[in-house]
Structures are given as structure tokens and as C-alpha cells.
């Protein structure tokens, strides 16, 4: 029998110390890293929010949604339209702009929350029809939704500036904002998962019919996970836009591609594990950036290889397929990297060390 051996208060203290320690590391990084490294560091946090929020929907509740990019885009637009000044908007909107959008202007924090709220609102609307579907249909319908959002953004000239997109978005996403939001996201979702609601969501994932028989309103809970996940997706969208400083609805990188990237992150990290999603996001961010090297000319064992654009997506997709065929559970599987698990692992090592 495996019982919990650490007191809750111990775990709380450990977590607080850990957060302070990470904060300290971040402070050092923020001061010493060069611009490029800082950008990647912040991207890790943004991907982390995207991954953890998608994992709540797909991994924990078992709702296979491919529409995350849609919510991210909604959050990105909503927040950016709020942080751009009326003058900036008047200048860049080629076909004029809806007057109420032009006038609205607020700070980054409020704008980000607004982005999340807008995404959550649409998740609520779209959830009603889409969540009544099953597995594969839900996947396509949600993917369709994300595409519709992108197509609409590409066409609604006076609201989103259409194919011209939004440019010169102020780069508000500094290290503290993104990691602050990441901390909040992880805290919120972890707290949700480690509660009766989290157990209900997992039950729905395991067996919908049995969950219903245990008194769980399956639809309501799926919608709950969907909306919460969408909220944080919207938040990540805002952070992403203020990191990238542009939004271009024509690029498929803001569309299905992005959802696939996030999917890779959570599958790699372990579908159903929050810490897994974080690990997956970090690995993906770093790997993807490092793979940029493949797109420049380089020498491989004395052979000169010309740079091939698009190579890194190819490598990533091969890794994805290999992971799916040989290592479906991913790094963490469904387990979490908790203090409990670490303690157990260390005790086991200690015991084995004492034996020999």
C-alpha cells in the first residue's frame, strides 16, 4: 500500500520555496541573458500556458478538441485591439475601423483578462453544439471552428484589419508577466484537478456512461473544462501577440499548425499530466529554436549541407510520429512530478544505496 508520507504543510512549504527559487533564477536570467535567449525563455512560458490549458481539455477530461488555436487567436486580437492606442489603430486600419474599437484602450493586464474572457465566452457558445459530438467529430468540428475564426479574422476588415493583421503591438510580454500568468494558470488548473471537480473530469475521461451513473452531469463538466481551457488559451494569445508584436491571420502558424504544435507538446510530455505539459512545452520551445540551425547551411561530419527552410517542422513531425508509435504515454504518462513522487523516488534510491 502506498500511502502519502509527506504532510500537506511540508508540501506547501516546499512549493513556496520552489516558487521563490524559480523566481530568483528568472530574475538572474532576466538580467543576464541576451535578447535572443530571453525571447525563447518567455516563449517557453507562453507555450506552457497553451499546453497546460489544452491538456485540461484533451488530457484530463478526454475531450479531443483541436480548436485551441481559435481561442488563442480570439485572445490575441481582443487584447491587442485594447492595448493599441486609438492613434495607432486609426493609422493602420486601411479600410477604416469600427469607432467603438478605435476608442477602446486599456492596460496590458486588463486587456489580457479581456482576451481570456472573450475566448471563454466563445467557448461557451461553441461548446453547446460541439460537445454533443463524439471523439472524431468533435475533433473536426473544433478544428473547423478554429479555421472559421481565422477566416473571419482574415475578412473582417473593420474589426481585425483583415489580411493586413495587427502590427507594432507593444512588446509588453516581459519575463515577469509571462511567468506570472504561467504560475497563475498552473495554480488554478492544478487546484481544479486536485479537487472533486478534477476527479469528476477524469471520471468522464475514463467512462462517460459510468460517470453519468455516478451522478455527474457530463455535459456541464465538459463545458466547464472547455471554457476554463479556452480562458487560459485566450490569455496565452494575448501574451503571444505581445511577444510576437504582430498578428497575421493569413499564416497558418496562427491556425491549425499552432494547435498541432501544442498537441505535440502535451503528447510528448504525457497526455493528462500537468507537469508533463510544462516539460513538453519547454522541450518543444528549445528544440524548435535549436532546429533553426538546420535551416541555415551547416557542416555535418565534413559534409556541407545547405540550409533547407521548413526542415525543422519536418524533424518535429517525424519525432511526433515516432513518439506516437513507440512511446504513446510520453514523458510523464498521466503521473505528475509531485513532491510525493520525488520523495518516494529518492527514498527508493536511498534504500537501494544502503543495500549495496
Amino acid at each position: 500500500m502506498v500511502e502519502k508520507r509527506l504532510k500537506t504543510s511540508t508540501k506547501v512549504w516546499l512549493t513556496i520555496i520552489f516558487i521563490i527559487f524559480m523566481g530568483f533564477l528568472l530574475w538572474i536570467a532576466d538580467r543576464t541573458f541576451d535578447d535572443y535567449k530571453l525571447r525563447v525563455l518567455r516563449l517557453i512560458a507562453i507555450y506552457g500556458i497553451m499546453a497546460v490549458s489544452l491538456n485540461l481539455i484533451n488530457g484530463i477530461t478526454g475531450v479531443f478538441s483541436l480548436g485551441h488555436a481559435g481561442f488563442i487567436l480570439i485572445g490575441a486580437y481582443t487584447a491587442s485591439l485594447l492595448t493599441l492606442t486609438p492613434e495607432q489603430k486609426a493609422m493602420s486600419f486601411l479600410f477604416g475601423i469600427q469607432p467603438w474599437i478605435e476608442k477602446l484602450h486599456t492596460d496590458f493586464f486588463t486587456a489580457t483578462i479581456a482576451g481570456g474572457a472573450m475566448a471563454a465566452f466563445f467557448a461557451f457558445l461553441i461548446g453547446w453544439p460541439v460537445l454533443k459530438l463524439y471523439g472524431d467529430y468533435l475533433a473536426i468540428a473544433s478544428l473547423g471552428f478554429a479555421e472559421v475564426v481565422r477566416i473571419w479574422a482574415n475578412n473582417a476588415m473593420t474589426i481585425t484589419n483583415g489580411p493586413l493583421g495587427l502590427k507594432a503591438i507593444p512588446e509588453y510580454s516581459n519575463t515577469w508577466w509571462v511567468y506570472g500568468w504561467l504560475l497563475f494558470t498552473v495554480a488554478f488548473i492544478s487546484s481544479l484537478v486536485y479537487s472533486s471537480y478534477g476527479r469528476a473530469l477524469k471520471a468522464i475521461r475514463e467512462d462517460e456512461i459510468a460517470a453519468r451513473a455516478m451522478g455527474i452531469n457530463v455535459f456541464k463538466h465538459q463545458l466547464l473544462a472547455f471554457v476554463v481551457g479556452a480562458f487560459f488559451a485566450g490569455v496565452s494569445g494575448s501574451l503571444y501577440a505581445h511577444w510576437l508584436t504582430t498578428i497575421d491571420p493569413r499564416l497558418t502558424t496562427m491556425g491549425p499548425m499552432l494547435t498541432f504544435y501544442i498537441l505535440i507538446m502535451i503528447v510528448l510530455g504525457g497526455l493528462g499530466s500537468i507537469t508533463g505539459s510544462l516539460i513538453g512545452a519547454a522541450i518543444f520551445a528549445i528544440l524548435f529554436e535549436w532546429l533553426r540551425n538546420l535551416e541555415q547551411p551547416f557542416t555535418f561530419f565534413g559534409i556541407h549541407v545547405p540550409g533547407i527552410p521548413g526542415m525543422r517542422i519536418l524533424v518535429v513531425s517525424v519525432i511526433f510520429i515516432l513518439v506516437m508509435i513507440f512511446w504513446q504515454r510520453g514523458i510523464m504518462g498521466r503521473e505528475e512530478l509531485t513532491w510525493e513522487n520525488l520523495y518516494r523516488w529518492f527514498s527508493k534510491l536511498k534504500r537501494e544505496g544502503e543495500k549495496s
Binding site: 500500500m1 502506498v2 500511502e3 488554478f188 487546484s191 481544479l192 479537487s195 472533486s196 471537480y197 476527479r199 469528476a200 477524469k202 471520471a203 475514463e206 467512462d207 456512461i209 459510468a210 460517470a211 453519468r212 451513473a213 455516478m214 451522478g215 455527474i216 452531469n217 457530463v218 456541464k220 463538466h221 466547464l224 498521466r334
Partner: protein, 292 residues
């Protein structure tokens, strides 16, 4: 089997009134009539058995009662409430719990979590609570905003502690403490069946529907299960409605038995009456029954 000694329980007397009544219920799927004019029910605190050959419509009756199917004709009345139009999760909240013929545990969750999940409905069913209040019954839950409480952990920790203690106690009483933190998938078959029953009990039901709980068990296990189910009634003050193929189990513990064949009730009575009923014997001679 670790068992905690309990004070001798008072015998809970079966009442005369129906706790659950199926009012001329017919369930038709296209051209197939799975349940044909079922007009019977379960009395309060009764241990009622439902038997019949495969395909007689027994599980369909359960499915109609629990709201999985909406009956083609007739109504289902439970504890004075017409539950026919209600959804499965609401019906569970109102006090009916069930197990499944093919065990449907939450396999990747631990034994403890399986039992804990069954208590979630108390927090999250305002619509069903409204139905209870409408019929003058106490709602299962009086506080609001449980979702926000659960996330912020404010005003929630006490509730979680209560639920965990209740779950642990229940697990102990059914004799599964030794595997409390194991995943349900790791348990042997017999313990999985017990877990399913424990989970159903955790919903605090007034009526427990057991669908072939002894399926796949050897004689010794069936006997243990028999004793176990008999105890449930007194220990948990619950009414039990049981589908079974194993005649020894049925005759051993049921106070009353309903026999179905081809969707219809063909006989009803005490175990002795049923055993000597010619129609029952005729139905069984042509089909495959166990342990008769």
C-alpha cells in the same frame, strides 16, 4: 478479508409501499419490444431479485429506471417523484445507484478516487436539488459556488476531508483497505466487483441496482458476495434490486423474485413459490440457467 467488528445491526423491515414503481412500462426499439408492460416495483428496504433468460429484458429495465432510455410507454415513479423525464445523473442524485453487467470502473483512477468521485454529485447538481425541493424533500447540498470554492480552496478543505473520510470508511467496510491506493485496473476481478458496489454506495443511494454482481465468480466467491449483499441492506439502510443468473445467490438472499421472459413478467413471488412455478420451470427448461 479484513473486517471491522460491528455492533449487531437491527433488522431493517421491508415496508409494504413501493419505493420504486414502474407503471406499465414498455420499451420498444424499432420493431423489437425489449420490455413489455412491466407493471411492478421494489418495496422500501426490500431485497428484490429479477431473473430470466438472456435477452429477457432485465438490463433494459435497469436502463429505463436509471434514465438511459426513455420508455416508449409508461412512467417510472421513485420515492413519490416521477423520474421518467429525468437524466441519468439527476436520477442518481435523487437516490438510485447502479452497477453494470460488464464492470465499468474508472480504471486509471485509484480505488479511493473511484469512491470519491461518487460523492461529487452532491456538490454539482443544482438542477436535481431543485427537483428535490419541489417535492418537499431536502436537497443534498445547501452551499453554492462549489466550483470556485474547489479552485480557491476557501471553504472547501473541510468538505474534502469529510468526503475522504467517508470514502475511506466505506472502503474499509467492504474490505478493500489494503488496495486503497491501487489503480482499479490492478485489482483482481472479485475485488473489482466489490469496488463497483462500494462506489455505488458512496452516492448515498436509497435504492441500489445490482446488475449480475456474481457474474464470473466461482462458488466460494458467490457465497461471500451473497453474505456481503445481505449485510448491505441492514448496514446501509438501502433497498436492493438485483439481477442475477446464479440461482443459488438469488434463492439464497432475495425476499421476493420477479421472473421475466421475452420482455414480460411471467411470475412473481417468494423463492419457494418461484421454484415450484410451472411457467418458470418451462421457461428454464428451454434455456441455459446456472446452479438451479
Amino acid at each position: 478479508m479484513t473486517e471491522v467488528a460491528r455492533k449487531p445491526q437491527e433488522e431493517v423491515k421491508t415496508s409494504e409501499e413501493f419505493l420504486l414503481k414502474l407503471d406499465h412500462v414498455t420499451m420498444q426499439f424499432g420493431g423489437l419490444i425489449a420490455v413489455n408492460d412491466f407493471d411492478n416495483g421494489v418495496k422500501k428496504y426490500e431485497l428484490l431479485g429479477l431473473i430470466g433468460p438472456n435477452g429477457a429484458g432485465k438490463t433494459t429495465v435497469f436502463n429505463v429506471v436509471t434514465g438511459i432510455y426513455y420508455p416508449t410507454k409508461g412512467r417510472v415513479i421513485f420515492d413519490g417523484i416521477d423520474i421518467t423525464p429525468l437524466k441519468p445523473h439527476q436520477i442518481t442524485h435523487l437516490g438510485i445507484a447502479r452497477t453494470f453487467q460488464n464492470i465499468k470502473l474508472f480504471y486509471d483512477l485509484t480505488v479511493l478516487d473511484n469512491v470519491l468521485v461518487a460523492q461529487h454529485h452532491e456538490l454539482s447538481n443544482p438542477d436535481a436539488d431543485r427537483i428535490l425541493k419541489k417535492h418537499g424533500k431536502p436537497p443534498k447540498n445547501t452551499k453554492k459556488f462549489w466550483f470556485w470554492r474547489a479552485v480557491s480552496k476557501l471553504g472547501y478543505i473541510k468538505k474534502e476531508k469529510e468526503m475522504v473520510e467517508r470514502a475511506k470508511e466505506l472502503i474499509e467496510r467492504v474490505g478493500l483497505s489494503h488496495v486503497m491506493y491501487e489503480k482499479a485496473s490492478a485489482l483482481p476481478y472479485g475485488e473489482q466487483r466489490k469496488l463497483e458496489i462500494a462506489r455505488a454506495l458512496a452516492t448515498k443511494p436509497k435504492l441500489l441496482l445490482l446488475d449480475e454482481p456474481a457474474a464470473g465468480m466461482n462458488p466460494k466467491e458467490s457465497e461471500d458476495l451473497m453474505e456481503f449483499i445481505k449485510r448491505l441492506k441492514n448496514e446501509f439502510k438501502v433497498t436492493i434490486f438485483l439481477i442475477e443468473h446464479d440461482m443459488k445467490v438469488v434463492m439464497g438472499i432475495c425476499e421476493r423474485i420477479i421472473v421475466m421472459d421475452y420482455g414480460k413478467i411471467i411470475a412473481e413471488g417468494t423463492p419457494e413459490e418461484i421454484q415450484s412455478n410451472p411457467r418458470v420451470i418451462e421457461a428454464y427448461l428451454g434455456k441455459e440457467w446456472k446452479n438451479v
